[in-house]
């Protein structure tokens, strides 16, 4: 093993040893000096565009961008000086001069990186104010695009192509007229956008935000004719605490339930129930395909960003993709069928709200094939974690101090397998726990599939079930997924089952999750790892850890659905896909 070459340099007079290939900004990490930056993102390529991170380097005529300038032996760096303060101030003011001054009413008020920089760098007056770009907000899709708030840092462009491989966003036009937009400067809904919301996550301002559903939910809650119920995705319990000052990775399931009741929801169910049901249906599908040795690998379909991606970029994989609806859609469907029947409520009066870590779920909820026979969607409104945090604050819930509550039964009962759906590899682990026992009719001794855990982009493994080798692939982040899928398409490797989650790290780092606190970047693997740890802890703490052992699920099959993959199951719990245009270019 070769040791990495290092160099020694001085940053503000402090001797620093850093890898020879690092940049000044990276080297400064170890000095407790925060060099301000904006376009820089440690998990994306470096473009050196915003120039906020300029520092002085002895021997260089002009200040250099520390995010891109490589360190050198003996280099002397100054990160703060009267000149640098003025230059940084001016640069940030120049950005502000072309930015709407509506901080108080902005969705990112308080979480905006530009706002914070302007404050920190001392922009207290506007010296150069002038013409500002005027471009309409594109509200055509669940991901809203507001170019007026765009500061052209290009993080969204990079995340969309480098992490997600969607390449939907590019800078269009030139110079002062630059605008980040899909092809033809067109609408998001007409583009190859998969609505994953990673652009929303990395955007330092409110140039990308989710479509706001809070108003419709508030309205429904105040409508006496409606029976408003809510269910929350597995990943929410691991992240919503961050919005109320809890440390990253603190599970707050009980508080979440209580808070939702306080907000006025008639029933608080758990999307986990849908997850357990998904596992039962999907493993049945898997077992049957394995037995017939056809349409393999089975590819999971829980992640709506992935489903959108598949329909646009890999339509040839439609036959391999599980026909199971996602946990959200399964549960929403049951709420307007089974639950309506059981409770004697007119299903058309039931208003289903789903709290999701995800912007693509908003798109899923509007899909034609997921609508009720009477035309309205099974899921009436999808709230992201961020939206719910705000709603709870709006109604004054003192989240940190509420008592723990419990989900309503029976559609709130779930196994530990369902909780881990929120992390990459979790669906696979849950599926294996059930599929193993279904195939072998034996009890699984060790429930933890460690090799499925962790935030690596691609995980591969093989297990033996009844002497049959099952090749498993797990990918998170679509650029990673491509690696697996291209092997499938080319026939290079024979997989039996593949789990794909669109967002890097899985739902815990979904496009609707809270903006992380200071010091952690949104794509930082450690963020996903900490959040996932909360879910695995919940799983471990449960005694019921296999979906097919969920008694509420068993009862559901017995009383309502019949057997897994029954006719009624197919009608209610399965869906279909079709190739979408424009087709994406990989």
């Amino acid at each position: 093993m070769t040791t990495e070459k290092t160099v020694t340099l001085w940053i503000d007079g402090v001797k620093v040893t850093a890898p020879a290939k690092s940049t000044i900004l990276q080297a400064a990490d170890s000095t407790n000096i925060n060099i301000p930056s904006l376009c820089y993102h440690p998990d994306l390529s470096v473009i050196g565009a915003c120039r906020v991170c300029v520092v002085e380097v002895e021997g260089q005529r002009n200040p250099v961008a520390s995010c891109s300038f490589p360190v050198a032996e003996g280099m002397k760096v100054t990160t703060s000086s009267p000149l640098l303060r003025r230059l940084r101030r001016d640069i940030v003011e120049l950005i502000l001069d072309n930015h709407p001054m509506d901080c108080q009413t902005c969705a990112r008020n308080g979480t905006c990186e530009l706002q914070k920089l302007a404050h920190d760098l001392g922009v207290r007056e506007r010296l150069f104010e002038g013409e500002r770009k005027r471009i309409e907000v594109d509200k055509s899709s669940p991901v809203h695009r507001n170019p007026e708030k765009c500061i052209l840092c290009g993080r969204c462009v990079r995340v969309c192509s480098e992490v997600q491989g969607v390449h939907n966003l590019s800078v269009q036009n030139r110079g002062f007229h630059n605008v980040v937009a899909p092809a033809h400067d067109g609408k998001m809904i007409d583009s190859v956008c998969i609505h994953c919301g990673q652009c929303v996550n990395v955007c330092p301002t409110a140039a990308f935000t989710e479509q706001d559903a809070t108003e419709s939910v508030f309205e429904a809650l105040s409508n006496p004719d409606l029976h408003v119920v809510v269910h929350t995705a597995p990943a929410i319990r691991a992240t919503i605490g961050e919005g109320f000052g809890f440390r990253v990775g603190t599970p707050v399931t009980g508080k979440l339930v209580t808070a939702l009741r306080m907000a006025g929801f008639k029933k608080v169910f758990d999307t986990n129930f849908g997850a357990d049901l998904t596992i039962c249906e999907e493993s049945e599908e898997f077992v049957s395909r394995i037995k017939k040795n056809e349409r393999l690998p089975l590819i999971t379909s829980c992640s709506p960003g992935w489903v959108n991606f598949m329909e646009r970029f890999y339509p040839e994989l439609i036959p391999l993709t599980s026909t199971c609806k996602s946990p959200m859609s399964m549960l929403s469907t049951l709420l307007k069928t089974y639950y309506a029947q059981q409770s004697g409520i007119d299903p058309q009066k039931i208003f289903v709200v789903a709290v999701m870590p995800c912007t693509a779920k908003k798109f899923e909820a509007r899909r034609e094939e997921l609508k009720t026979p009477w035309g309205s969607p099974y899921t009436d409104a999808v709230l992201t974690t961020r939206e719910l945090i705000w709603m709870l604050k709006c109604v004054g819930v003192d989240f940190a101090n509420v008592e723990d509550g419990a989900f309503d039964s029976p559609l709130g009962v779930s196994s530990g397998a369902a909780d881990i759906f929120g992390a990459t590899g979790g669906v696979m682990e849950a599926a294996l726990r059930t599929a193993y026992e279904k195939i072998t009719c034996k009890e699984l001794e060790k429930l933890d599939f460690e090799e499925m855990r962790g935030v690596e982009g691609v995980k591969e493994s093989s297990i033996s079930i009844n002497g049959t080798i099952i090749n498993i692939g797990v990918a998170n982040g679509l650029q990673n997924a491509k690696k697996l899928l291209d092997r499938v398409v080319s026939g290079e490797k024979q997989y039996h089952i593949i789990e794909i989650m669109a967002c890097p790290g899985g739902c815990v780092a979904g496009g609707g999750q809270p903006y992380p606190p200071k010091g952690i970047y949104v794509l930082d693997p450690s963020l996903a790892r900490l959040r996932a740890r909360a879910l695995y802890a919940i799983d471990e703490s449960k005694t019921m850890r296999k979906s097919h052992e969920n008694p509420a699920i068993t009862a559901l099959y017995e009383n309502f659905l019949g057997a897994p993959n029954s006719h009624l199951c197919h009608e209610l719990l399965h869906t279909k896909y079709e190739p979408k245009t424009p087709r994406g270019v990989k």
């Binding site: 470096v46 473009i47 050196g48 565009a49 915003c50 120039r51 906020v52 300029v54 002009n62 200040p63 961008a65 891109s68 300038f69 490589p70 000149l83 003025r86 230059l87 001016d90 640069i91 120049l94 950005i95 001069d97 072309n98 010296l127 150069f128 002038g130 013409e131 500061i151 052209l152 590019s170 800078v171 036009n173 030139r174 110079g175 002062f176 007229h177 630059n178």
Partner: protein, 640 residues
């Protein structure tokens, strides 16, 4: 018996000579028609065809007619040069088909040159033997041009190194290029020199990049040579974008093989087997001539595999720009060749380490490459003897604006601005007063009269607050407003900013707004200071050279012409009378005869007055179009 590459080349040249003598040079009379884009625009094609017709009509034998590149005498175009055995070459200027007929009948048929149509000549010194062997002697490459044209006033103070063959040879003829020792430099390095020897020679010559940066070419090559890589590239930057500069176009149109030869030498020196020429799509003739030259070179075995019969492979591909000034910047140009938006990336790493497709890449400007053969054949020592201590050789300038002689001029480094403007350029047109000379295009600055003795070289111009740039040189007289000139250049860079980095994208916009404010009479105290502050921020923090230089025209005009800015801001007055919105038109009652001409022509009907009575302009409605001034025959309308 093995023949060397040089022997083969000379053999090939002998063949060319034989053919050329038969077709052209043994003719009694030879006529050449300048035919670059500008000449064609001025009507050179028509002149050429009418001469061709006339030769046929009159049944003239022993008269050869051919095209050559541009001699750079822009305001005299089209130019026809007549070589006969009795007279020194005569250059006929501003020709038309009618004038051509007149000239042909007198000079060609009767043997009487038409002095009144010819360019002035100071004395007769041309080498009379030019048509036998003088032109082709193995003399210095640079001597050839002056032996033909040296005695014409305009060219007297010039030294033609880059443009040595422009206007001398037919750019579309491989044979003619071979006759001027063409490809001899390429064969020499391939046959006799190791790559590091070539790099050393270029380093020793002191040649610096002619595209604007002035980086030593040999040093650049040595960086790329030192890199280990399975692939390297050499790129010719022909994305000439400075408004007012067109020496690269003229070089390619007039002497495309010299650029190809420079690339062959450079490719060999750094270890690149593939070259690219990145050229503006707006230069169709240059593209056409270059394509043909590349094709011809391939046919001869000068490009392709095992070139000149050696073991070395080298080929060239043309890539078109598409109208983006910033692509003149190295890293943006690379992105553009890669098929991307031409946005620069931070350096380091420099292209010589990681360039096109991440491979070591050298990018040289057209003018630089055209000089390579001179260094190789006439020697780095000789090259280094021309110019100043730190700037060697010559520089081509596109002299334009309010100067008598406009065109492409090539002077040794170190020539003073005064010598260029007054010596070569003939001083200011129409007896006006000199105000400033702008060099370096949008990246440069405006220098006032007190700087006229500045020598033109990289460091002196930079020290004076301007730049060599790619060689635009615009002469500005008293009729131009310096604030308006600054606004013009900033308007250009602002429009051409790629928009990637904040200071250039947003900052130039704000500077432009302030300048627009000032020129429209809305300037306020503090605007000059804001311009200087923003200018400083942009210069210091922009990502690429375009942004870093963008404020130069503003900063230099504030430095040298601050009083003009102040007049605009404080007195709402444009001293040069250019800024429309600061002008006012009034009618002097004593002079006005009441002819009503102005009243009738006023587009906004703001002039009142009865016939035969003095008229009055309603200032509140006047749009300052100046029509009244134009139509007044009695000097009654005054502009302030």
């Amino acid at each position: 018996m093995m023949t060397t590459a040089m022997e083969r080349l000379l053999e090939r040249r002998a063949k060319a000579e034989k053919r050329l003598r038969k077709e052209k040079f043994d003719a009694e009379i030879r006529m050449t028609v300048g035919s670059a884009t500008c000449e064609n625009a001025a009507g050179a094609n028509e002149v050429f065809s009418s001469l061709k017709e006339l030769i046929k009509k009159h049944g003239l034998k022993n008269v050869a007619l051919s095209r050559v590149g541009c001699t750079g005498r822009c305001d005299m175009e089209p130019v026809v040069t007549v070589f006969d055995r009795r007279n020194t070459p005569v250059k006929y200027s501003t020709m038309s088909p009618a004038k051509a007929e007149q000239m042909l009948e007198s000079h060609i048929i009767k043997g009487v040159p038409l002095k009144e149509m010819a360019m002035p000549r100071a004395g007769v010194t041309a080498d009379a033997r030019f048509s036998e062997d003088g032109l082709w002697a193995d003399a210095r490459l640079t001597d050839r041009f002056s032996s033909i044209f040296g005695d014409v006033n305009f060219f007297g103070k010039q030294m033609r190194m880059t443009l040595r063959n422009c206007g001398v040879i037919d750019p579309e003829s491989m044979d003619e290029y071979l006759m001027v020792r063409g490809y001899q430099a390429a064969v020499k390095v391939l046959g006799e020199m190791a790559p590091n020897e070539v790099v050393d020679a270029i380093t020793k010559s002191g040649l610096r990049g002619r595209g604007g940066g002035g980086f030593p070419t040999g040093v650049k090559w040595s960086f790329a040579l030192a890199q280990k890589s399975d692939e390297k590239f050499i790129i010719c930057n022909a994305d000439e974008g400075d408004p007012g500069a067109f020496m690269d176009r003229s070089t390619i149109e007039g002497d495309p093989h010299s650029v190809i030869e420079g690339m062959i030498v450079g490719g060999y020196a750094i270890g690149a087997r593939q070259g690219y020429v990145y050229i503006r799509a707006e230069y169709p003739l240059a593209i056409k001539r270059l394509e043909q030259a590349i094709d011809d070179a391939r046919k001869e075995g000068f490009l392709g595999t095992k070139i000149f019969g050696t073991e070395w492979d080298f080929d060239i591909e043309i890539r078109l720009g598409a109208g983006a000034f910033v692509c003149g910047e190295e890293t943006a140009l690379i992105r553009s060749i890669e098929g991307e938006r031409g946005m620069p990336r931070p350096r380091p790493p420099y292209p010589a380490v990681s360039g096109l497709w991440g491979r070591p890449t050298v990018i040289n400007n057209v003018e630089t490459l055209a000089n390579i053969a001179v260094v190789i054949l006439d020697g780095p020592e000789w090259f280094a003897s021309i110019g100043t201590a730190k700037s060697k050789g010559t520089k081509v300038f596109a002299l334009a604006g309010k100067v008598c002689n406009t065109g492409l001029v090539e002077v040794p480094m170190g020539t003073t601005l005064r010598d260029v403007v007054y010596g070569v350029g003939g001083g200011i047109r129409d007896g006006k007063k000199f105000k400033a000379v702008q060099t370096g295009g949008p990246a440069g600055g405006c220098l006032p009269e007190s700087f006229l003795d500045t020598p033109v070289d990289y460091d002196s111009l930079t020290a004076a607050g301007s730049m060599m740039g790619s060689g635009g040189m615009i002469v500005i007289d008293e009729d131009s407003c310096m604030v308006d000139v600054a606004r013009f250049f900033l308007d250009f860079t602002q429009d051409e900013s790629c928009g990637k980095c904040t200071p250039c994208r947003e900052g130039t916009k704000r500077m432009l707004e302030i300048l627009q404010r000032i020129t429209s009479g809305k300037g306020v105290n503090g605007d000059i200071e804001k311009l200087l502050r923003l200018g400083d921020t942009i210069k210091r923090t922009s990502l690429c050279g375009l942004g870093q230089a963008a404020p130069n025209p503003v900063i230099s005009t504030i430095k040298h012409f601050r009083d003009e800015y102040e007049a605009h801001i404080r007195e709402k007055r444009c001293p040069a009378g250019v800024c429309t919105q600061l002008l006012s038109y009034t009618i002097v009652a004593e002079n006005c005869t009441g002819c009503t001409a102005c009243r009738r022509k006023c587009p906004v009907e703001c002039i009142s007055g009865n016939p035969k009575e003095a008229h009055v302009i309603d200032q509140s409605r006047c749009v300052k179009c100046g029509r009244c001034l134009e139509v007044c025959k009695f000097d009654a309308v005054k502009r302030k």
